[in-house]
Assembly symmetry: C2
Amino acid sequence: MTKLATVLLSGGLDSATAAAWVLAEGWQAQALSIDYGQAHRREILSARAVAESLGMPQRTADARFFAGLAGHSALTDQAHHALPERRDAKAMGASDIPITYVPLRNSVFLTLAAAQLESQALQLIETQGTDPKDLRAGIVIAANALDYSGYPDCRPEFYEAAAKMLNLGAKLFTQYGVAIELLTPLISLSKADIVRLAGRLKAPLHLTWSCYAGGDRPCGVCDSCILRAKGFAEAGLADPAL
Amino acid sequence: MTKLATVLLSGGLDSATAAAWVLAEGWQAQALSIDYGQAHRREILSARAVAESLGMPQRTADARFFAGLAGHSALTDQAHHALPERRDAKAMGASDIPITYVPLRNSVFLTLAAAQLESQALQLIETQGTDPKDLRAGIVIAANALDYSGYPDCRPEFYEAAAKMLNLGAKLFTQYGVAIELLTPLISLSKADIVRLAGRLKAPLHLTWSCYAGGDRPCGVCDSCILRAKGFAEAGLADPAL
């Protein structure tokens, strides 16, 4: 059985943990990082370093046009949308989606990862003679529904719908019966659980970058920094990136 | 009521017709063309000319990385996958998906169009004060299930699943209740019906490009040329692009 996976690797704590997880599960995995013109470009460098540390092939897709296409967000247009500083992410209601939401980013990332994965799987089947029955195809995305419930595209029902769409549209499934599996190993974990899991898997957290700002050091005050610090504190561990 | 639409405009006969249709239906429409590194780059020029002729704002997204990401196709990698020459597209069985299938291309295009549309709709609501109740948001894609049944992502059930995914992932729907509508005006039309509709709508077919090859003149022998010629013949009209 060939288990072929594409991991969406942003360079943050969560995706680095998910990348270590998929290797531990025995998948033949590659990392896809997407340069979508995000303001915090530092994370692209982290993604490369994390993949290298894990011995995982990595590719960065140049999708910088996306920031112009979907510019209504604090992560793609800081000239018009200031990053929020919020001391307690839990204070957000479920229907209160923060300005750091990037229009349909996870939908776009999933479809790009699925296209890469399908292309490689079809290559195996159609030119290298792999039997579709001996092939599994997985996409790993480090979405998390618990600590950051503001984003609609981090909920399990979104991933169920996405898997259905991708497979209905894919030759890999409709012709060869190989379903693209969406793997969300972190979806129901708390940030502290993720930090503990990363520790067990020896994920290279010292190379990760979570801050929404893009300076030399994490800002310590954005939502993402606060959430990360809280996770390490609750897990009783020191953040090796600080 | 503001009816905001993004039309996926490839520059071919079908998308030019769909673009003329959405204007006739009273939508405020813009065109999105995607340069995905396709071999037949001539169509990007046609897309611009068609949009200009219709007086529709147009943007070309530079997604050339996509050809490298999803390279297992005759449309993105002609060095390894020759374009098929087939005299009768009808001879294909439903499970026989041609090598011109580009891995998950329509899924990727739809999510990009949806991201652009959502970004603009959120801009209207959140910065210009538009009441979500007075807003509709539509994506127009010229998919066609009838004449070209080999592509799994041209079937109505794919678009139903796609709408579900996009809306579950979108702030526009989950927070403001505005559903992204996927409009597929050509999905059950024959090529002859499309040619007739284009004639009624005065779509600028003389500016369109359908050929899978990218020369100065249509090759006349690829699937797409054959299908187009058949459509004009059945409609009893001359192709103004020849």
